[in-house]
Symmetry: C2
Subunit: 324 residues, 2 copies
């Protein structure tokens, strides 16, 4: 593969080259992995940065409608927008949350938008690296905004927050039950809560829910990376395209403040280190799947199951004999 | 340390020897670890098995009161009962969920009961091994029932379920909100749901809540390790000592069925293998904390943070140079 040629075409913003590069980083083949690493190394010095926005929300909250409306608003302002999806459950469900591009019918046809469905995956570690690398590729291709959507299964929100500059949580209008239903920990990582469906019969409920969330946010510990007034809760209506411009202004204001205060760059540096350490751990654990360790582990595992040796003693034996 | 002497005294049921051995497995010192491994290896062939019962429930649900009442009922039947606590958060709170023995005032004075508070810990991995080894020691000391209590922070319920023969979930009476509040996944690992506080004004609510949970349980997938009617929901009143004998009958019936069907032994074998593999992973990752890997990781981590190298390329370099 001609890495230099592919890199040049990505930098020129060629969508087909970008799509091909993402397929490359998604591949499990060893030669593809080597090419992917070389490509990313080649592209790492970039003149411009995209704003990386993480977005989560439970099914039914209107994520697709929001992304479609929000994305079209941004492309309407001349910005180039990439949308990536993270779905750790897609291996089980056999599908992809963005598989059907009709989910975002207009945005998917917009020449200034790039929508990439989530590949079927089984393991969050792999999903994390692929998503992170796809973000890097979109950034290298000159996209102004990279939106990373997650359905919020298991640890996926934390993972996406660790690769985003801003994290949005899309919520449904509702009562106290909704507040309870928000997974513990997610409030702490969100920068902006967007209560969607603030239209028609639900408008008043959405306003009240938004006030409830704003109250809940005030109870959270103050974070160094937040200016006055953040994290904040706002209402939007994706179907009526209402509040989207205001939400975008707030995102920009937050990003600008963080850039000036040095938090933006510091956070990216922390994230890079975080992912480096995660990859080291993953690479180390991969040795357990290869011979001769794999075979020795199976043999010792049988002895442990039979009660011939304790788990701890067996683990020590394996570590000493094969993994010093 | 005279391992043989300590082992003999444990097998004779000496409580002080048991307490000393648990302190040994809780120690982080390398020589203590070697002694602990030797002791557990020496004690692994045991004539009798304890019934290992995991118990979880959110704060305020009445866990202490339940354990006190349930434990006293068992000792009243001539059974010897050990109570262990798992609290992954105790390092933060600085305390121990069983630190104050007044929590179980009568049980703690019962010569047929052994209550061990949770040590202050920082890391779940360490907690898991220590708890597992403490269970083994209690079993070797001839206890008939080992009750392992967890406050249910993070992954601690799953961890306790992986070392128990039966898993109980203690719940409060309440409406649909309570049902929602139960952490996803925990219903799937529970064998018996106990709705506590079925007394006084809450009796009717407890009965209704129990019916709600019974309905929810019927929606779960049938598990091979369950006889007809399990998992099941029941009401109890720890303060009135009501329903405890019935709950114990159900636990025994379930354990007997599983023993006869072969699930009991199979589960223990699976658990032993699971913990062996967990210990191998943990031991392998511990290498990252030791020199020279630790230093190299710090240096590469700085380069990654500065953007001089991508996380993936840096991880590959470290793995190749230090961890082949």
């Amino acid at each position: 593969m001609d890495i230099e040629d592919l890199a040049t075409r990505i930098e020129a913003g060629e969508r087909r080259a970008l799509a091909r590069a993402i397929t490359l980083v998604e591949s499990g083949r060893a030669d593809h992995r080597a090419d992917a690493t070389a490509l990313l190394e080649r592209l790492k010095d970039r003149p411009a940065q995209a704003l990386r926005i993480g977005l989560s929300g439970t099914p039914g909250v209107g994520k697709s409608t929001f992304i479609e409306a929000f994305g079209l608003m941004l492309t309407g302002q001349g910005l180039r927008v990439a949308v990536l999806a993270v779905d750790p459950s897609s291996a089980r469900s056999g599908g992809s949350i963005l598989g059907d591009k009709t989910r975002m019918e207009h945005l998917s046809r917009d020449p200034n938008a790039f929508i990439r469905p989530s590949p079927a995956q089984s393991q969050l570690g792999g999903v994390a690296r692929r998503t992170r690398e796809a973000i890097d590729l979109c950034e290298a291709a000159g996209f102004h905004v990279v939106l990373v959507e997650t359905v919020g299964v298991g640890q996926s929100e934390t993972m996406v927050a660790e690769m985003a500059d801003l994290f949005l949580l899309l919520l449904a209008p509702g009562g106290g039950d909704e507040l309870q239903g928000v997974k513990r920990g997610i409030m702490e990582i969100a920068d902006i809560l967007l209560v969607n469906k603030a239209d028609g019969d639900l408008r008043a409920t959405a306003t009240r829910t938004c006030a409830d969330y704003a109250g809940a946010l005030r109870l959270l510990r103050k974070r160094a990376q937040d200016p006055q007034g953040f994290p904040k809760a706002m209402t939007v209506s994706a179907v009526e395209h209402a509040g989207l411009d205001k939400a975008w202004s707030e995102m920009q204001a937050l990003a600008d403040w963080r850039r000036e205060a040095g938090h933006f760059a510091a956070r990216r540096a922390d994230q890079a280190r975080f992912w480096f350490e995660a990859e080291v751990r993953e690479g180390l654990l991969a040795r357990l799947k290869r011979e001769p360790v794999r075979g020795a582990m199976a043999t010792l595992g049988r002895q442990v199951a039979e009660g011939a040796i304790t788990p701890t003693a067996a683990a020590e034996e394996l570590l000493i004999q094969y993994l010093q």
